[in-house]
């Protein structure tokens, strides 16, 4: 089983937004038996939007829900006003549903907005706020309903982690282990905290110990295996890194980074022929990452596959050109 990466409250928001970005549209509402004419339908929707704008959401929402449940119109010059109407209706539906605490309806409307207007700033803004509120509600409920549960302690620890309060985060995680030494995932998180604290040898050794302990409790924790591999890779212990990354990829066949790290470590150990397979797998899973194409180009080149190397290097250039700027890059104004 894949061990999830610990999720902070902030990350919950990221997950929620990504779910909207990449998720499926919600199931359609039950269609009306008799379709109204286009003109009368548009008038009805306009009326509902108007009601919503006046705060009469109870009256407006049924018609708005119906309007947003229809398939999106194909965008042409002739029906651009229809597209605008769809946007306004969905936005009104979302806002009304939020004000009436109808979470499912709000989420449905936001899904549709994200699907049909994926880059609209207002859509992104309202989505962020709504899921932030949902996350806050859920965390408050957890604290209220089960304050001594390990899940509540874990959330608290993750919150400390997100604020960089490493010692407090570690103490919270330790409390969970004090109650039950075999809760899976906690040693992994302690390992992560140790690595976050600093780059000293003692921090690294502490992290290593925690990851190893995690694997004793949960041998299927691919993230712990990966982290041990990464500790080895960062100090050039290629054979150890290869072993850990191989296990991580075996445990979780969808763990893309494990393939990349395995390929990189094999290449660093001059085992270029062995590096090809994991790197090929990685570029299939994450074709937009220049790292995979670069490493694969090197592996191809060193195994005599010059044409393939040139092709991958071209892909590296193309993907690197599209890569987002790093966190330390300035934004020209």
């Amino acid at each position: 089983m894949r061990t999830p990466i610990p999720i902070t409250v902030g990350l919950i928001l990221v997950m929620a937004v990504q779910a909207i970005c990449y998720g499926q549209a919600p199931p359609k509402s039950k269609p009306s038996l008799e379709a109204p004419s286009a003109a009368s339908s548009e008038q009805g929707v306009e009326h509902a939007i108007d009601l919503a704008a006046k705060g009469r959401c109870q009256e407006a929402l049924p018609a708005l829900k119906l309007a947003v449940s229809r398939p999106p119109a194909k965008q042409t010059a002739a029906n651009s006003s229809g597209k605008q109407l769809e946007y306004r209706a969905a936005m009104a539906a979302a806002k009304c549903a939020m004000s009436l605490n109808q979470a499912q309806t709000a989420i449905n409307a936001l899904f549709i907005l994200k699907r049909d207007f994926p880059h609209d700033p207002e859509v992104l803004y309202i989505t962020t706020h709504y899921f932030s509120e949902l996350a806050m509600q859920a965390s408050q409920e957890l604290a209220r309903e089960a304050p001594t549960s390990y899940q509540a302690q874990e959330l608290q620890a993750e919150s400390f982690e997100s604020q960089g309060r490493w010692d407090q985060a570690a103490a919270e995680y330790q409390k969970i282990l004090d109650q039950n030494a075999n809760v899976p995932g906690i040693h992994f998180r302690l390992g992560r905290v140790a690595l976050s604290k600093g780059d000293s040898e003692s921090d690294t050794q502490e992290a290593k110990k925690e990851f190893e302990q995690e694997l004793k409790i949960d041998p299927s924790n691919a993230a712990a295996e990966f982290s041990l591999g990464e500790i080895a890779r960062r100090t050039g212990q290629w054979n150890d890194a290869i072993t850990h990354f191989s296990i991580a990829a075996k445990i979780d066949s969808g763990f893309a980074e494990a393939y990349l790290a395995l390929g990189m470590s094999l290449a660093a150990a001059q085992k270029f022929a062995d590096a090809v397979a994991p790197l090929e797998k990685y570029v299939k899973i994450v074709p937009e990452d220049p790292a995979g194409h670069y490493q694969l180009a090197i592996a191809y080149d060193r195994t005599g596959r010059k044409e393939s190397a040139a092709k991958e290097m071209q892909l590296q250039r193309e993907t690197a050109a599209k890569a987002p700027p790093s966190a330390t890059t300035a934004t020209p104004q």
Partner: protein, 577 residues
């Protein structure tokens, strides 16, 4: 959900006696003074490996002025360079320091100039800049020293924005600006430069690194954070420009061959360069550190250059992205007969020690050497491979400092001023000896250029660090005096006069070593042209073999050699003095 890739990035994955006295080129040799008369061989153990010599003792009172402005023009934060050179051929290393100066974006409030300091042979220096006439004329960057006309006198190429200068050494303590006649103005923003013989005709040619397309009107506002505070831009926002290669015509003039030989096909954002024969084919190659574009490895194909950096494995980070390559150097650190490379980068990018695979490819050995971990939060500029303790193994010294004054507001654990790093080569691996090598390693510097040279002629290579907007730092090396050594001044005749590209092999008892004389290396800086062969505790050198660079094709072996002093070997004379 948050991807494990992001987790990887968070982990930091994302990610090296005698002197020619005659001005007329004749080789009038005279013995060096024995440095041991100044400083005894046996030093108390309490002396640090590197001791800072304060300006009050050295007499080097000049300081660099960057002209740091609210507009944050990029050149302000990346200089300066420095050099050890023996401009008066008295056998003692003098010092040259580069300053900023007037240009379209900067009008100094008071006159600024470079500085040439003459070595007084007693640990002090005298400012002779005005008499020498090497003050500079624009916004200075770096310096490359070489005897381009073979008259036995080192000449100075000063890189500047917006045009550079060639100072010809007149042999009487003065220099003449011969830029116009030579055709070496290199208009634009020049950074590091290196003298080397690219076409094996025995004449020193000149490679000049160029940074981005820049002038005052092209300055870009880079903002950070909610308040959009201005900071020094990462150069991704600027347009790369090709470097220059100038062929020496042998008559005091040069021809720009950048296009003819394939250099200009590769737009650069070049900071550092080293000339070294990385494939042992007898033709000098070039390794160029680029900022936010891939580093270049220009393989010299008999006078034409093929850029092979990407597939050679030295162009990009392991994650397939260009880093901020700055200082570079080359040496055969593991004595396998092939030159290895080093490049410094900025924080979170890690520096790279590229081990030569002997097939025009390289593998990054920095993680296993402990260099990756030590440099994760640092931004490196000057870097040099040299045998600081004369044990026969080349070590690495790095000077660091972040280019952005605002960095501490943006990033945790990254400083504007940063500490030096010293990695000792044990012959089996690397040891970070920074903490044990003197108080200077505890002091945060705005390090940029770094030159290596033996200013006190004790065979123990000293260090000069040029700081941005601050005073230079002169370090006396005490570690090398714990071992024996032999210093060589090589003079080419058929080969280029500075013997750039020469390979020296030597045997001292059980110690068999070789060393190449590479061109340039480090950042914006130029080094003592002499080679120091470390012998460890061995008191005798059995033999020294010099393989002169092409077109010489000569290999000469010398025996009955002294130790703990410098000698001069002139190509084809069959002896030493």
């Amino acid at each position: 959900m948050i991807s494990r890739r992001r987790w990887l990035q968070l982990l930091g994955l994302s990610g090296f006696s005698s002197a020619f006295a005659a001005a007329n080129g004749s080789a009038a040799l005279k013995p060096f003074a024995n440095a041991s008369s100044l400083w005894p061989l046996d030093e108390p153990d309490s002396l640090p490996a590197f001791e800072e010599i304060p300006a009050s003792k050295s007499g080097i009172t000049w300081t660099h002025t960057a002209g740091l402005s609210p507009e944050m023009y990029m050149p302000e934060t990346v200089g300066p360079g420095c050099a050890f050179l023996d401009y008066d051929n008295d056998g003692w290393m003098d010092i040259y320091l580069v300053n900023s100066g007037p240009c379209d974006f900067y009008t100094p409030p008071h006159p600024l100039r470079n500085a040439l300091y003459r070595n007084n042979r007693d640990g002090t220096f005298t400012d002779v800049t005005v008499k020498a006439g090497v003050a500079g004329s624009a916004y200075g960057m770096g310096v490359a020293v070489g005897d381009y006309d073979g008259d036995g006198l080192p000449d100075i190429y000063l890189t500047q924005y917006p045009h550079s200068i060639l100072y010809h050494n007149n042999g009487d303590g003065t220099f003449t600006d011969v830029t116009a006649k030579a055709g070496l103005a290199a208009p634009g923003w020049a950074t590091s430069a290196v003298w080397f013989d690219y076409n094996n005709d025995g004449l020193l040619d000149l490679f000049v690194c160029r940074f981005v397309d820049f002038d005052k009107s092209k300055n870009i506002y880079c903002g950070y954070g909610a308040e959009n505070k201005r900071w020094y831009c990462k150069p991704t926002v600027y347009t790369p420009m090709p470097c220059w290669l100038f062929r020496n015509n042998g008559n005091g003039t040069f021809t720009d061959v950048s296009k003819d030989v394939g250099i200009s096909k590769s737009p650069a954002k070049a900071w550092g360069v080293v000339a070294a024969d990385i494939n042992n084919d007898g033709w000098m190659d070039l390794f160029v550190g680029n900022d936010t574009v891939p580093n270049f490895l220009f393989a010299n194909r008999k006078g034409r250059f093929e850029e092979i950096g990407l597939l050679a494995g030295v162009g990009l980070s392991p994650f397939g992205l260009a880093r901020s390559g700055m200082g570079v150097d080359a040496a055969d650190y593991d004595q396998d007969g092939w030159l290895d490379l080093f490049v410094t980068n900025v924080d979170h990018e890690l520096y790279s020690l590229y081990h030569n695979n002997k097939d025009e490819t390289f593998a990054d050995a920095a993680p296993g050497a402990g260099i990756s971990a030590a440099t994760k939060m640092l931004s490196g500029w000057g870097v040099k491979f040299f045998d600081y303790d004369n044990d026969g193994n080349v070590d690495i010294l790095l000077c660091n400092g972040h280019p952005d004054l605002m960095v501490e507001q943006r990033l945790q654990n990254v400083g504007y001023r940063e500490r030096l790093l010293l990695f000792q080569n044990t012959g089996k691996g690397w040891k970070n000896l920074s903490a044990q090598s003197g108080p200077i390693f505890s002091r945060a510097l705005a390090g940029r250029g770094m030159a290596v040279g033996d200013f006190d002629n004790d065979g123990s290579l000293d260090v000069l660090i040029a700081q941005n907007d601050d005073a230079p730092v002169l370090l006396r090396n005490h570690a090398g005096r714990q071992n024996h050594w032999l210093g060589l001044k090589l003079v080419g005749r058929k080969a280029n006069s500075d013997a750039i590209g020469a390979k020296v092999t030597y045997q001292a008892g059980d110690l068999l070593r070789h060393a190449w004389k590479v061109g340039g290396g480090s950042y914006l800086s130029s080094h003592d042209p002499r080679m120091v062969l470390g012998l460890g505790q061995r008191k005798k050198v059995d033999w020294v073999e010099v393989k002169w660079p092409n077109p010489s094709e000569k290999t000469e072996r010398f025996t009955e050699l002294p130790v703990d002093r410098y000698i001069t070997i002139v190509e084809g004379q069959g002896g030493w003095k």
